[in-house]
């Protein structure tokens, strides 16, 4: 039986077990939307802006591990989606974005709402397709889902001209897939794994350096098991929060530019870095020629291009981290690991010497307290999303993350405006959890329109706005490195956040004391409505510790009492 290209899209999504699609209709994608109207296989969530749709699909993918799906139209619909694609690309999030395109006959004539979409998406997707015939459409859709979710995951963009969605064809959706030029290595080389274990056994101060790959390949519990069995301490990157669990005695915290003192010192002093799904980002390594000076480096990564990209690796292992960890657990008994307890003690001493903390030295609420308090009140019941800036770092530092996929943040691209739509996707994917979005007075305004989507579709998100009337992170850099010239970072004019949220069907609070915050949070969660809790926090608070650009990990600005910079 011959069906239209639009119907093929719907059928393919159904076969791929898509339960929700985030999107926005428009001229070139109308045929697909007509079929969406007629089907019952999945829910369509209409966002208020295409960027919101892509971030929502991204948040959904991060929270559930499934492929997020979004549909947008040609031209501006697609260009609005680009930031979302780039966000997902930098953090390796599996996603399929389907966009409409002007009919084949119009392509190249500067038609209405025509733009070279695949040309734009090429550098910010794992792969993209421009469908030119109806015959290839089923295969392209199948490949899109396969490429997005296999190997190192990433967003895949499928651009479909309008005439293709109208044309009739035979829907022969492949069950098997074989792309001769794409065969990701998923199984680690056993000889290399043994060499790595040997290297670890020969070291005195090994350290697990856990990255976002641990979350993506769902192997946090294997890593916990390995750490527990060997007594090797671990540090997490921003993207790996939740992998080890906040109460794990072997976790020495997050490392990097705003990492804990103990974690950064551990990374500086270790003699064997065991990198598990991390990529030596510049925000993690600090000054490169001082990084890992005393260490041999073992690097496990599914993407061979990550190995040796930034630092020289002594023992590379290419493979899916889950497979490699399973092999490591099976082989580890053949090796005699040392006693690392004195090394762990050194780290614990550092944690006591320079704990991650803050001083209650003003009348205003401390943003760190807000995060910590939210952790005490909601703990494991909440999945935490963030926008980008100071609040993001405080959330990463002070929230007690206990399980993987509890922490949703734009780490690689650092996209302001990510938090709210992502938290909506999280809620849609995990309806039993409380979806909390930590945000700032700057970030929230970048996609604030999605509050309405949250209320319309009953996907409540609790937005905790840490309001300091600044673009805080930029303000902090201006204070430190630009002699406090606050160029365009003072947000004097602000909306009434309570009214803003309530005007879109949510519920708003403005709090200035601890009691008010507790009450607002309890009330917001109980109301089961999308909420804004605007917390007036200490304006001049800085994120510390901080490794300034161009400095080594052991050269941190540390928190000092009474230091108001």
């Amino acid at each position: 039986m011959r069906i239209t290209g639009a119907k093929m899209v719907i059928k393919a999504l159904a076969i791929e077990n898509t339960e929700v699609v985030f999107g926005y209709p428009g001229g070139a994608i109308m045929n697909v939307y007509d079929e969406i109207y007629k089907q019952k296989d999945f829910q369509h969530i209409l966002t208020k802006h295409e960027q919101g749709a892509v971030h929502a699909a991204d948040g959904y993918a991060r929270a559930t591990g499934k492929v997020g799906v979004c549909i947008v139209t040609s031209g501006p619909g697609f260009t609005n989606a680009v930031t979302g694609l780039a966000t997902a690309y930098m953090d390796s999030i599996p996603m399929v974005c389907i966009s409409g395109q002007v009919p084949n006959a119009i392509i190249g004539t500067d038609g209405f709402q025509e733009i070279d979409a695949v040309g734009i998406s090429r550098p910010c997707t794992k792969h993209n397709f421009l469908v030119t015939t109806i015959e290839e459409l089923p295969r392209v859709l199948k490949e899109a889902f396969y490429i997005a979710s296999s190997g190192r995951p990433g967003p895949v963009h499928v651009d479909i001209p309008k005439d293709i969605t109208a044309e009739l064809g035979i829907f022969n959706y492949p069950t098997e897939i074989n792309i001769s030029t794409y065969k990701p290595t998923v199984k680690g080389n056993v000889r290399q794994i043994k060499k790595a274990l040997e290297e670890i056994a020969n070291s005195k101060r090994p350290l697990l350096y856990i990255g976002g790959g641990a979350i993506l390949s769902n192997c946090s519990y294997e890593i916990r098991e390995f750490a527990k069995a060997t007594g090797i301490p671990a540090v997490e990157t921003l993207m790996a929060r939740g992998a080890m669990g906040s109460e794990n005695p072997l976790l020495c915290g997050m490392l990097g530019m705003h990492g804990e003192y103990a974690a950064n010192m551990a990374m500086h002093e270790t003699d064997c870095i065991i990198s598990l799904g991390a990529r030596f980002d510049d925000r993690v390594t600090g000054r490169l020629d001082k990084f890992g000076k005393h260490a041999k480096i073992i690097h496990v990564d599914i993407d061979p291009a990550n190995i040796g990209k930034i630092v020289h690796i002594n023992c590379p292992i290419v493979g899916d981290l889950k497979n490699v960890m399973t092999d490591i657990l099976a082989l580890m008994n053949e090796f005699n690991f040392g006693d690392y307890s004195s090394w762990v003690d050194t780290i614990h001493e550092n944690q006591i010497k320079e704990p991650l903390t803050y001083f209650e030295d003003s009348d205003a609420l401390k943003p760190q307290w807000v995060v910590k308090r939210t952790g005490e009140l909601l703990g494991d019941k909440a999945i935490i999303s963030t926008d980008v800036g100071q609040h993001q770092m405080w959330a990463a530092q002070f929230y007690p993350f206990n399980y993987p996929r509890q922490w949703i943040t734009s780490g690689g691209l650092g996209t302001m405006g990510y938090g709210l739509p992502a938290a909506m996707g999280v809620k849609r994917g995990c309806p039993d959890k409380i979806s909390v979005n930590f945000t700032g007075d700057g970030s929230i305004m970048m996609n604030v329109q999605e509050v309405m989507t949250c209320t319309q579709y009953q996907t409540p998100v609790v937005n905790i706005i840490l309001n300091n009337n600044y673009l805080g992170m930029v303000r902090q850099w201006q204070t430190f490195f630009y002699e406090d010239r606050l160029s365009e970072t003072i947000l004097e004019m602000q909306p009434n956040f309570k009214m803003l949220c309530e005007s879109m069907g949510g519920i708003g609070y403005r709090v200035t004391t601890k009691e008010e915050f507790d009450k607002a949070l309890e009330d917001a969660v109980a109301s089961n409505k999308t909420a804004f809790i605007e917390v007036m926090v200490d304006r001049r608070e800085n994120v510390l510790p901080m490794v300034p650009n161009g400095h080594a990990l052991n050269e941190m600005y540390l928190l000092k009492e009474g230091d108001r910079r």
């Binding site: 040309g119 090429r122 550098p123 421009l130 990084f291 041999k296 291009a305 990209k309 020289h312």
Partner: protein, 165 residues
């Protein structure tokens, strides 16, 4: 112990890379985008279909440190339509040049020089003479230098193709 910085500071070298790719519309831009997006050099790039197959072959001449070359190869391999990437270690390279010279010069001098560089006279009209030579790229550069004495009107190079010995 080797630090990260040592790895950075390796000397630049010239490298010839062949890339076998699936024949599809956008593959040329995928490859050239990759080079420009990541700041890699392209000294020369040629592309043509591989006979009797669904693949095409790119020959790319580039310059970079060991780390850069390593990244170029890995990043190329990551592109979905790329079948394989060959870093040539021991290969024969050939480059072709076409030169248009004004007529009225000593034809036999030109012929001798062209022959010396393994080339020939291709075409003569009443106002111009076209010569060509195919040789390894270094010899072609020499040839272009020598031929300057005859005031060339136009010089066209093909780019390097290469095959492993």
């Amino acid at each position: 112990m080797k630090s990260a910085q040592d790895f950075y500071n390796t000397a630049e070298k010239r490298e010839i890379i062949s890339v076998i790719v699936q024949n599809e519309d956008s593959v040329l831009s995928r490859i050239s985008n990759l080079f420009s997006a990541r700041g890699y050099n392209i000294d020369s790039l040629t592309v043509a279909p591989v006979p009797n197959s669904e693949y095409s072959r790119f020959t790319i001449v580039t310059v970079g440190s060991a780390r850069t070359i390593d990244q170029i190869v890995k990043q190329l391999n990551k592109l979905i339509p790329v079948l394989k990437v060959i870093e040539h270690k021991n290969c024969i390279e050939k480059d072709t040049v076409l030169v248009k010279l004004p007529i009225g010069q000593n034809l036999s001098d030109i012929e001798v020089i062209v022959k010396a560089y393994n080339g020939s006279i291709q075409h003569i009209t009443d106002d111009a003479i076209i010569i060509s030579a195919t040789n390894d790229p270094k010899r072609i550069m020499d040839f272009i230098k020598v031929i300057q004495a005859f005031h060339p009107i136009e010089i066209v190079r093909s780019g390097v193709v290469s095959i492993e010995r």
